[in-house]
């Protein structure tokens, strides 16, 4: 897989336009590539580099820092089990062991049928609902072994329509209509906004 599709190039241009500098769009564009292909392909990184005017090496440099960007294909469903302290206290590590057995893979591994990738992750901000996990970044709370098996069955059957395949995060995008935007301030621009100057008491005005 590949460079960004024509539709995604349009989206990419819209995203780039909302940042004062093109490189700031790098993380959003990497997410876009991952949404397209399920992972961040090398060609996609090169394409992104062209779009924001940096080298492919810079794109890889940033991409490789962040855990969510996968540079190799992963399963359709990424199952991330939290084993951090609150979850550990409530059985998160035991859940992970059960998951390893059930799926037959170690953390980081993908099942042979390409359905599941298992990861043990750090706190996912659901500590009061321990032990918990995410499937493609959607939460499941209070997961015991039985519930885990059910979940895997549901996913394998394709009955979890609420969970998109790996790569899709929020399913609503922000659309910044240029007609309505105030106008993103580039760092090179100077001067305070007109409305601010006119509202300050006179003695404070410079």
């Amino acid at each position: 897989m590949s460079r960004l599709s024509a539709a995604n190039v349009l989206l990419a241009k819209e995203i780039i336009a909302r940042y004062p500098r093109p490189k700031s769009a790098l993380l959003p564009l990497l997410h876009l590539a991952q949404e397209q292909d399920g992972y961040v392909a090398e060609d996609a990184m090169e394409h992104i580099a062209e779009l924001i005017g940096v080298t492919a090496a810079e794109v890889l440099g940033t991409c490789s820092f962040y855990e969510m960007f996968k540079r190799e294909p992963v399963g359709r469903y990424m199952i991330n089990i939290c084993t951090n302290i609150s979850c550990q206290l409530m059985g998160g590590e035991e859940l992970l062991h059960h998951a390893e057995e059930r799926l037959g893979v170690r953390p980081g591994g993908t099942t042979e049928d390409g359905m599941f990738t298992l990861e043990d992750v750090e706190c996912i901000a659901a500590c009061t609902e321990a032990p918990c996990l995410q499937v493609n970044y959607r939460y499941e709370y209070h997961v015991d072994n039985e519930r885990f098996d059910e979940l895997v069955d549901e996913l394998a059957r394709g009955s979890r329509h609420d969970i998109p395949r790996h790569g899709t995060l929020g399913r609503v995008r922000q659309h910044l209509d240029p007609e309505r935007a105030a106008g993103i301030r580039a760092p090179e621009s100077t001067g305070e906004p007109q409305w601010y100057t006119s509202r300050k008491p006179k003695e404070e005005a410079r």
Binding site: I85, S86, A125, R185, T190
Partner: protein, 476 residues
């Protein structure tokens, strides 16, 4: 399973019937919609503010003593005043919540996105800036979705963007998100990430964001919960705000209490009014330790905080008191551990977090946190040596210099556990890894020793450095 009278659609949130400043809409199933927000007084604060002098809005927040909720507890109004008169300037909202035990910003973003957007707009107005970046943690898909929808609706209604509410004011709020890196919660790393770089912190000084932040321009970084308080403050006034909480810490805090309590949950609690004991045992709160067990220890403010023990139960939930007792309320993450908890394993787990999340920029943190993890791992795996305990403390002292609770230090009457920690590193992540180690060793040294002694027995080793080989050998 603990019984939880959660509000079904705000999983984790428990309504304790106390005053609500930021969670007032959590009980409505459609709390995240623009309609519900407006039906409950939403955007009235912004309307009112647009008629005010920006400096007066800033004063309101400064007078309210709104302490930052991201961890350091610095007063927001004071920080806002640190920006030099240079434009453009930016507001960056820190929604990267990932400190172990912390669960509140996600709820605020998922359940009441408009309240946060309003907080951003008012802050931008007060400081005369017109671009705000809302940086949400990458793993929070629902929060991203809710905020995107909320922003699209608010733009369409003319509440955000050009000519807000028919005035000449224009402010943009841009939603963006991370991709999985705890360190990006540190404000300068967040800025690096927003510039499209690896999320590695910058040295402070000189790179204090208020002076040299995003694109080296003045930048205010505030936590989600901090900004969520702003609409209430400007609508009701600083004096009304100060009627809640304590004098030094007005208002409420969202606290996530997890671990071995009967009713874990996210509670909005008045600052300084409740003690840890009431929180853990009170009927309105966590209703006791599970199975009637004894409390062994608790983390009062996220994985980075030194641990507390039963003798600290009567401290009020107030940053200054907790600070004076040698720890911090941090990000409002309280983790409760009962008598069945293995102190070595708990310590290992927290340290492992820091080892995995170190960004690798400074040697003491990159190498040190890894050594700490490996040594703790071998103790837990049954390959520990007696001198490992002091070795851990020694490594800690190189990341975070100070007096450490080695046997000899205590004998000499030196104060252990320096807090707040000193650091040989660029940011406080490395030193944070030392807190669980000193806490656990100081209090439960015997557990480390017992584990080491037991391993010598079961493995036929002698706790002898020359003979025992762990599969993943480490020497420091």
């Amino acid at each position: 399973m603990p019984t939880n009278d959660y509000v079904a659609h705000a999983v984790g949130y428990v309504d304790n019937e106390g005053p609500k400043i930021v969670t007032s809409r959590f009980s409505d199933p459609d709390s995240y919609t623009l309609d519900r927000y407006e039906a409950t007084g939403g955007y009235n604060a912004t309307r009112a503010v647009l008629q005010m002098n920006p400096a007066d809005v800033h004063s309101q927040v400064r007078d309210a003593v709104l302490l930052g909720r991201g961890g350091a507890g610095f007063p927001a109004g004071v920080k806002w005043g640190f920006m030099p008169p240079i434009w453009p300037r930016y507001l960056v909202v820190n929604g990267d919540e990932s400190e172990p035990g912390t669960y509140k910003d996600r709820l605020l973003m998922e359940r009441d996105p408009h309240q946060l957007i309003e907080g951003c707009l008012i802050t931008c107005y007060a400081l005369g800036l017109n671009t705000c970046f809302l940086y949400v943690r990458g793993e929070m898909a629902l929060a991203q979705e809710r905020l995107a929808r909320a922003l699209n609706d608010a733009y369409a209604a003319g509440y955000v963007g050009r000519n807000m509410f028919g005035t000449d004011v224009g402010i943009d709020v841009v939603l963006t998100w991370g991709a999985g890196a705890y360190i990006v919660g540190e404000e300068t790393a967040l800025i690096e990430s927003l510039e499209g770089n690896r999320g590695m912190p910058r040295l402070k000084p000189p790179f204090f964001p208020a002076a040299k932040g995003l694109y080296m321009k003045p930048t205010i970084v505030n936590n989600v919960e901090t900004l969520a308080n702003v609409p209430w403050i400007v609508l009701n006034g600083a004096d009304a705000y100060k009627r809640y909480g304590s004098e030094r810490s007005p208002g409420t805090r969202m606290l996530a209490i997890s671990g071995h309590v009967n009713r874990p949950g996210v509670y909005e609690v008045e600052q300084g009014k409740v003690t840890f004991r009431e929180l853990f045992y009170g009927d309105n709160y966590c209703q006791g330790i599970r199975d009637g067990n004894e409390l062994k220890m608790f983390i009062p403010g996220g994985g980075s905080a030194p641990w507390f023990f039963p003798e600290q139960l009567d401290l009020p939930l107030e940053a200054a008191d907790v600070g004076a007792a040698g720890s911090m309320l941090g990000s409002g993450a309280i983790v409760v551990m009962d008598e069945t908890t293995d102190a070595v394993r708990a310590c290992l787990r927290v340290v492992r977090f820091f080892a995995r999340e170190s960004c690798g920029k400074c040697t003491p943190c990159r190498e040190g946190t890894n050594w700490e993890e490996k040594i703790l791992q071998r103790i837990d795996d049954g390959y520990g040596r007696l001198e490992d305990i002091d070795l851990l403390l020694d490594i800690g002292s190189q990341i975070s210099p100070g007096n450490y609770p080695t046997a000899s230090f205590e004998a000499e009457g030196l104060e252990a556990n320096p807090f707040p920690p000193k650091q040989t590193t660029i940011c406080p992540l490395g030193p944070s890894s030392v807190a669980p180690i000193t806490s656990a060793i100081r209090r439960f040294r015997h557990e480390f020793e017992e584990k080491i002694a037991a391993s010598a027995l079961t493995n036929g080793h002698h706790g002898d450095a020359d003979h025992d080989e762990h599969p993943e050998e480490v020497s420091a």
